[in-house]
C-alpha cells in the first residue's frame, strides 16, 4: 500500500515538474485559467445589472451560491477534470497500456495527466467565495463557519463524481464529444443560481435527481438563514456530504462497468 502511494507521488511530482518547467508559460496558463472563473462572475453581474433580483434573492445572496458553485467546480476540475481525455484513450486504444500496469487505471489517469494550471481557477473562485461570504448578511457561529468550509468541499466531491461518471460515457459512446459538458459545465451554470427559478421538471431532474441542489443552493440558504421558498426543511443545507457520498458510489459503479465493457480498438 505504502509503495503504491509512493509511486503515485513520484508520477505526480514528475508531471508537476514537467508542467512548471517553462515558468512564464506556466504562469500565463494559470492566469488564463483564473480569467475563466472571473468571466463567469462577469456574466452573473451583467445579468444582475438588468435583473436586480432572481427568484426573490438579491445580488449578495446569489453571489454566495455562485461562489460555492464556482469553488466546488474549480476544485473538482483541478482534481479529476483531466479525465475528459478518457475519450482520447479509448478511441486510440492507449487505455490498453494503462490497464496492463499493476496500478488502478483510474489512479493512473488522474495523476499522469494532472494539470496544475487549473489551480488558477480555484484561487479566483475561492477569492470570490470569501468576498461573497463577507459581504452577505451571515450570522457567524461555529456551525455556519464549519458549513462554509464543508459545503464547497462536498460540492467539489459531487462535481468530481459527475465528471467521472460523464467521462465513462466514452466507454460506450466514443464520439460523445461535448455531451459531458451538459452535465459538468451545465451543472456549474445550474448551481450558480437559486433553483426556484427553474421549471418543475428541470428542477426535479437536475436539483434532486442529480443532487445539484446540494452543491450551493441549500448550503447557501443555511448560511444565510433563509427559509426555502420551495418549502423544504432547513436541515437540507447540512446533508451535502451524504449526497456527495451517494454520488461517489454512483460514479464508482459506472467506472467499474465501463472498464469491464472496454474492448480495445480491435486493430
Amino acid at each position: 500500500m505504502a509503495g503504491t502511494v509512493g509511486i503515485y507521488r513520484r508520477v505526480l511530482a514528475a508531471q508537476m515538474r514537467s508542467q512548471v518547467t517553462y515558468r512564464a508559460s506556466f504562469l500565463m496558463s494559470v492566469t488564463i485559467s483564473g480569467v475563466f472563473a472571473a468571466l463567469d462572475l462577469v456574466v452573473v453581474l451583467v445579468l444582475f445589472g438588468v435583473a436586480r433580483s432572481m427568484g426573490g434573492f438579491g445580488t449578495a445572496e446569489v453571489l454566495v451560491m455562485f461562489g460555492l458553485s464556482s469553488t466546488a467546480f474549480a476544485a473538482a476540475d483541478l482534481a479529476v477534470g483531466n479525465l475528459e481525455r478518457l475519450q482520447f484513450y479509448v478511441r486510440s486504444g492507449l487505455l490498453d497500456g494503462v490497464l496492463l500496469r499493476p496500478l488502478s487505471a483510474f489512479g493512473q489517469l488522474v495523476v499522469v495527466d494532472f494539470t496544475p494550471r487549473r489551480a488558477g481557477r480555484v484561487i479566483v473562485a475561492v477569492v470570490i467565495l470569501v468576498v461573497a461570504l463577507a459581504r452577505a448578511d451571515i450570522t457567524w457561529t461555529p456551525a455556519t463557519a464549519v458549513l462554509a468550509v464543508v459545503a464547497p468541499l462536498a460540492g467539489a466531491v459531487m462535481f468530481s463524481a459527475v465528471m467521472v461518471a460523464t467521462a465513462t460515457v466514452a466507454f460506450w459512446w466514443i464520439d460523445s464529444g461535448e455531451l459531458a459538458f451538459s452535465l459538468t459545465n451545465g451543472g456549474r451554470d445550474f448551481t450558480s443560481y437559486p433553483i426556484n427559478i427553474y421549471g418543475a421538471a428541470m428542477r426535479r431532474l437536475f436539483a434532486y435527481g442529480l443532487g445539484f441542489a446540494f452543491v450551493a443552493y441549500y448550503p447557501a440558504l443555511a448560511l444565510l438563514d433563509r427559509a426555502d421558498p420551495l418549502g423544504l426543511p432547513g436541515w437540507f443545507g447540512w446533508v451535502s456530504p451524504a449526497v456527495a457520498a451517494v454520488a461517489v458510489a454512483g460514479a464508482a459503479l459506472s467506472w467499474r462497468l465501463g472498464i469491464r465493457h472496454y474492448r480495445s480498438t480491435g486493430s
Binding site: 451583467v46 435583473a51 451538459s182
Partner: protein, 289 residues
C-alpha cells in the same frame, strides 16, 4: 468488373475553366464530411438543448426581476418571447457558425500538411471558406433545427411580424458564418508564427463568452460598451446581429444597419485573412522537412 482505363470516355473540356466549380465541389465535400459525424452531431444537439433550457429559465428569472424592479415587462427592451428566441436560436447558431472547436487549419500548419493546400491552384482562404459554407449548410439542417424545435415545443418563442424578416435573417446568418470563419481563420493562422495555439484559443473563449451575444444579449451591457463592440469589433456580427434581425428589434432601418455592419466586417476579415495568408506563405518553413 474493373473498368478499363482506355474505355473511360474523356472528361468534357470546359472552354472557360471557372473557379466556381472547384469551390462548389469543396462546399459539397464540406457538407458531406460533416454529415458523416453522426454521433458527434447527436451529442452536440443534446448539449445545445440542455443549455437552451438552463439559459431559458435564467432569462425568465432575469425578466421577472427586471419587471419587479422597473414595473415594465421587459429586460433591456426585450420581451420574454424575444429573450427566449434569443436563447434557443443562439444555441442553434453555435453549430452553424462553428463558434468553437475549429482547428483544421491550425492542425494542418502544425503537422505541415498545409503545404498540400498551398500546392493547389486555388486561393487557400477561398477554398477553406467554401468548405466551411458547406459545413454550415449541413449544420443548418440539424444543429440549428433541433434546438430551435425543442425550444418552440417547450416555450413561447417570438414569431416575426414581417415576412421580409425571414430572408433577411437567412442573409444575416450567412454573413455571421463568414465573419466567424474570418475570425477562426485568423486565429488558426497565428499558428504560422506561434507553435502553440492554446493561449489564443483561450482568448477566443473569453470573447465568445462575453461579446458575441451568446451568453446574454449585448444590450444588457452599458450603452457605451455595446456601441464600442459594434463599431470596433466583428463579434456582435456573429450572433447578436442575426438575432436582433430575427426578433425585429428596432425596426427595418436597424435591420439594414446590422446587415451593413456584417457585410463590412465580412469584407475586412476576408481581406485580412488573404493578407495574413500571403505573409505567412512568404516565411513558411514546413516542419519536419
Amino acid at each position: 468488373m474493373h473498368p478499363d482505363l482506355a474505355t473511360v470516355p474523356p472528361e468534357p473540356v470546359d472552354a472557360r475553366p471557372s473557379i466556381m466549380s472547384p469551390l462548389w465541389a469543396l462546399a459539397v465535400a464540406g457538407f458531406r464530411r460533416y454529415s458523416t459525424y453522426r454521433q458527434a452531431t447527436v451529442a452536440a444537439c443534446v448539449t445545445n438543448s440542455v443549455f437552451g433550457f438552463l439559459r431559458s429559465f435564467v432569462f425568465l428569472a432575469t425578466i421577472a426581476g427586471a419587471t419587479a424592479a422597473t414595473g415594465v415587462a421587459n429586460a433591456a427592451g426585450y420581451t420574454a418571447e424575444q429573450l427566449l428566441t434569443f436563447c434557443w436560436v443562439t444555441q442553434g447558431l453555435i453549430g452553424v457558425v462553428a463558434l468553437w472547436g475549429w482547428t483544421d487549419l491550425g492542425d494542418r500548419i502544425r503537422t505541415g500538411d498545409v503545404v498540400a493546400d498551398l500546392l493547389r491552384p486555388l486561393n487557400p482562404v477561398l477554398s477553406y471558406l467554401a468548405i466551411d459554407l458547406g459545413r454550415a449548410g449541413f449544420a443548418v439542417l440539424i444543429r440549428f433545427v433541433v434546438p430551435v424545435a425543442v425550444g418552440a415545443l417547450f416555450f413561447d418563442l417570438y414569431v416575426p411580424r414581417h415576412l421580409a424578416t425571414y430572408p433577411l435573417f437567412a442573409v444575416s446568418m450567412i454573413l455571421g458564418v463568414v465573419v466567424c470563419f474570418g475570425c477562426r481563420f485568423l486565429l488558426n493562422a497565428v499558428g504560422y508564427w506561434l507553435l502553440d495555439l492554446r493561449g489564443v484559443i483561450a482568448a477566443w473563449f473569453v470573447v465568445t463568452g462575453l461579446f458575441v451575444g451568446l451568453t446574454f444579449p449585448l444590450p444588457f451591457l452599458p450603452d457605451w460598451a455595446e456601441a464600442t463592440l459594434w463599431i470596433a469589433t466583428p463579434f456582435p456580427s456573429i450572433m447578436q446581429g442575426p438575432l436582433d434581425i430575427l426578433v425585429e428589434r428596432g425596426g427595418q432601418a436597424h435591420q439594414g444597419l446590422i446587415l451593413l455592419a456584417q457585410s463590412l466586417w465580412s469584407v475586412v476579415l476576408l481581406l485580412s485573412c488573404a493578407y495574413v495568408q500571403q505573409r505567412a506563405e512568404r516565411k513558411l518553413v514546413i516542419q519536419g522537412g
